[in-house]
């Protein structure tokens, strides 16, 4: 495998206006290694990963199952310590989770004993903020994701897609600068997933948040991202960072574009599945 394409350039994507004044990277990943010690011996999950994440960009991690992309995301989130190397968030080494970083997972992680509104307000509750003050905002967000008539419903009464929308409202309520999304729509059917992707793009455009999106769906990664980080099988390394450069705003028709097909094929080749 080729050496990771360490991209220290912080030139903004020309198709989008920078949303932050600063062009300094949001995350800097430097010579990152992660080793897990299991009963059957030590396993190297990540090997010498180098990566800069630019402010306001939509970045995807693509790779085969077990390539360590979720591990990388968890280290970036401050949930896992690195074995060697460093991750800096806005210039500071990250060693614990931050309220400026919001996460979404493959499952919606809604608590069945809480109503949808109570679930959305949970982060506010944990931060010790005033729930009353945030309730109107939570209701607006639920309306924005089409759940206004399910505010008092329990999660089991909602479909999978609706549950993920509630989960999206939950992370948007406390307005973190960065969204780390770990295959958030991976458990949904194709149509719901496409719909959620379009909404995610809309939200990203509106808010200018930095998004890191983990997926094993190449089409999805190309459709959504400014750049796609292609990872090798274990031990996970960065095979290449692919600049997408397709015009925005993107609609589903972009998939008919010749350039779209070329990018997808390029990534397939890098992953060895062409």
């Amino acid at each position: 495998m080729s050496r990771p394409a360490t991209n220290t350039a912080t030139i903004m994507d020309p198709v989008r206006t920078p949303v932050t004044d600063s062009t300094a990277p949001v995350f800097e990943v430097e010579n990152l290694y992660k080793v897990f010690h299991t009963d059957s011996g030590a396993v190297m999950a990540l090997r010498d990963v180098n990566l800069d994440v630019r402010p306001g960009e939509f970045l995807s991690f693509v790779g085969p199952s077990g390539c360590g992309k979720s591990t990388l995301l968890n280290i970036i989130a401050g949930l896992l310590p690195a074995s060697s190397g460093e991750v800096r968030f806005k210039g500071r080494p990250i060693d614990e989770p931050s309220r400026d970083i919001g996460m979404m997972f493959q499952t919606s992680v809604l608590f069945p004993w809480r109503t949808i509104l109570q679930n959305v307000l949970m982060p506010v509750e944990i931060f010790g903020w005033d729930k009353k003050e945030y309730t109107p905002k939570a209701l607006e967000l639920l309306e924005a994701v089409g759940l206004e008539s399910f505010v008092k419903a329990y999660p089991s009464q909602l479909s999978g897609g609706m549950q993920q929308r509630a989960s999206l409202a939950r992370v948007l309520l406390y307005d973190p600068e960065v969204l780390l999304l770990d295959e958030p729509f991976g458990a949904l059917d194709e149509f719901t997933r496409e719909n959620m992707n379009l909404e995610l793009l809309k939200i990203w455009t509106q808010t200018g948040k930095t998004v890191i999106f983990v997926t094993h769906n190449i089409n999805e990664a190309v459709f959504l991202s400014d750049r796609v980080v292609v990872m090798t099988p274990r031990p996970g390394e960065v095979a290449r960072v692919v600049d997408v450069g397709l015009p925005r705003p993107r609609r589903l028709e972009v998939m008919k574009d010749q350039r779209f097909g070329e990018l997808v094929f390029e990534i397939r080749e890098l992953l060895g599945v062409a």
């Binding site: 004993w113 944990i126 307005d175 909404e199």
Partner: protein, 311 residues
């Protein structure tokens, strides 16, 4: 919150979400519609007035009641057909008569209050110990690993054998009964609390940690509610074992009070109708307790039918 305001305005104006939850068809045949148009004959036949599946409630109730009457008849038959000595097994009518005698002599209430007091103390102490130990074991993996062989040993021990030792140490008063109840009843609540507290899945734990939740917040907002269904099961078992503990101690001890003692005395005097009447009375109380606990269970853990847990 500036960013979120933007999304709200933007998203609200654009998409009508295509997904709608499953809705029942209007039950009035005249206006019923499928996919926005009136139903045809077959659709109407299939959708409207279709019977709910499964046996009716009344049928279940009838079979359940029939089983009860059948068992009572069998009970009546055994002594009356000469299969069992009626002196050892009085028939249901004799027992009912015995129950009447006990009520007339006004002995039940006093002994009931003695026994219930023992059970209440026993469960309050045993349940608290069980819950606290279970919480420690469930939340501190190191302690759990160190103590797990001892827990296994304790689990294997039929704890009834402790009763004579406890009585030997504490004498014939209420203390020995309460202590026996404690020794027998703390275990299910402890083990169920311990196991329940370890059940929170990886992603909910990650979510809580990503929000910077404290250990206490993770405990109260995630681990404890996840454990609640199992804890309730342990709670029920513990209550019933507190009954067992208190009654075993009463029967073993030469004291003069309590329903267990009453059964033992009537048994020795071969007043089997009275002994059985007390047993039936105890059974009725235990069944009532279980039903009450089941009701509480359904009220407190209303999300139990959601088998997938945290999603």
């Amino acid at each position: 919150m500036s960013g979120a305001d933007g999304i709200i305005r933007e998203v609200a104006t654009v998409t009508a979400w295509p997904e709608t939850p499953l809705q029942a068809v209007t039950q009035d045949p005249g206006t019923a519609k499928v996919a926005g148009r009136p139903m045809d004959e077959l659709e109407e036949k299939l959708l409207v007035g279709a019977p709910a599946r499964g046996p009716r409630r009344s049928k279940v109730l009838a079979i359940s009641l029939g089983t009860c009457l059948g068992l009572l008849f069998l009970w009546w038959l055994l002594p009356n057909a000469g299969l069992v000595n009626p002196l050892l097994l009085p028939d249901p009518f004799d027992v009912a008569e015995g129950f009447g005698k006990l009520l007339a002599a006004d002995v039940l209430l006093h002994h009931l209050s003695v026994t219930m007091t023992e059970i209440a103390y026993g469960f309050a102490i045993g349940g608290t110990i069980g819950f606290l130990l279970g919480t420690i074991l469930g939340t501190i993996p190191f302690v759990r690993r160190v103590l797990s062989p001892y827990i296994l040993a304790l689990q294997s021990l039929p704890k009834v054998v402790l009763a004579p030792l406890i009585i030997g140490a504490l004498g014939f008063g209420i203390e020995s009964k309460v202590a026996t109840a404690v020794a027998i009843c703390f275990f299910p609540l402890m083990i169920n609390t311990m196991v329940g507290l370890t059940l929170a899945a990886a992603e909910p734990m990650k979510l809580m940690r990503s929000l910077g939740a404290s250990r206490l917040q993770i405990y109260t907002k995630l681990r404890l509610p996840v454990a609640a269904p199992l804890i309730m099961v342990g709670f029920k078992h513990s209550v019933l074992l507190a009954f067992t503990g208190a009654l075993v101690a009463e029967i073993l001890v030469g004291s003069s009070e309590g329903l267990g003692r009453l059964i033992a005395i009537y048994n020795q005097q071969i007043l089997m109708d009275l002994a059985f009447a007390v047993v039936v009375f105890l059974a009725a109380i235990a069944v009532t307790a279980v039903m009450l606990l089941d009701y509480l269970d359904r009220k407190i853990i209303f999300w139990r039918e959601d088998k997938a847990g945290v999603k």
